[in-house]
Amino acid sequence: MQDTVWFLSVFDTVHWVEWPDENESVLYMQRSGETIVVSALSIAILELLKAKPCNIVEFFSELSQCMDESVEEQALMLAIRSNLTQLQQIGAIDNDTNFITIHNSVVSPAV
């Protein structure tokens, strides 16, 4: 799971709008039209993926540098994972081990 490589979706294009000093941004999927509110962490993840595909270790390493020292490692990891799931569900990002992951799960989430 550590080696799972994430990348921006090839099936759709993600757009977003953010505001200084506000933690919430709005994300828009160009093809599907899905529009949701996401956290600043999601935007940071997307910015990293715009540069290159990343695995979770790389996310953690980059993002922990911008975090306050009081943020616990585990809490950040959890937050990264949950944001990745949300972004994947809306179709903004994908990963290379999807087949194996879904095959092993009992119920696949709505794509």
Binding site: H15, V17, W19, E22, E24, S25, V26, Y28, Q30, G33, T35, V37
Partner: protein, 301 residues
Amino acid sequence: MTLISSLSTTQLYRQLSNNGLTIEIGPFSIHACSTIESLTEHFKLMYSDYRVVTEPFADFHINLKRPNGFRHLLYPQVIFYSDIEKPFKPLPLNQTNPFFEWGLNWCIATMAHQYLIIHAAVVAKGQNALLLPGHPGAGKSTLCAALIHRGWRLLSDEMALIDPLTCSVTPVPRPVSIKNASIDVIKGFAPEAVFGPVIKDTHKGTVTHIKAPESSTQQKTDKAIIRWVVFPEYHSGSMLEISRPNHAQVFMDLVGQTFNFGTLGLTAFQTLENIVNQTDIMKFRYSVLEEAIDWFDTFQP
């Protein structure tokens, strides 16, 4: 240039019930056809200052007809046609006038995709527009009806037609729909307003329409740029309260109020982004109409 007012009631009825009449409403030419007499009265009263179109092209073709069959004798009804389409179930015959207005809203919202269309009242001071997005029960229609009788120009009471490139609003001044308790409130607030007949037991309760002031119809080609977006909330007994919501919340609220957000795709997203970033946005709670109007009076571009 022929205005509706230059036609006698008989002439108007004859035209509407034979080949129909095309009338200019904002940027649109509406071809209307009906043998139902109340519609003639509605046009005579509410659309007297509007131009009769002689060009043979109409943007929308509206027909209001009584259904056939003997059931109609027991329960008189009216059907709305948009060209050959019947988008709605029939309504009682006495709701013909509001049916025309509701149906025209539907036509614009489902076909005029050259605009981003937000469910909102829009009024303006000069070229500066105030957008009042409309959650049901928020009081936007009441506010709109009051503001246009206190120096603000009516662009629309229901749908903001926004040019995606410039974020300007195109006026489509039409009769302002108000309902239930608001009717008496506005009668008291603006006794000079021209009211249509009051119709009870519609799906919205008791409704009536107020004629758009002549100044608004005269300036029907003057676009305005959105300067303020105010989400009104009528709350009985509350003090006047202004707050500034966060941008993401505003954005999503506007998405929810945009009729053709899905249809316009990325253009819609980018237009809303511009609106959210370039306007003064507030949430506003009120209970006393005079207070609310006085507050809006303080708006300077």
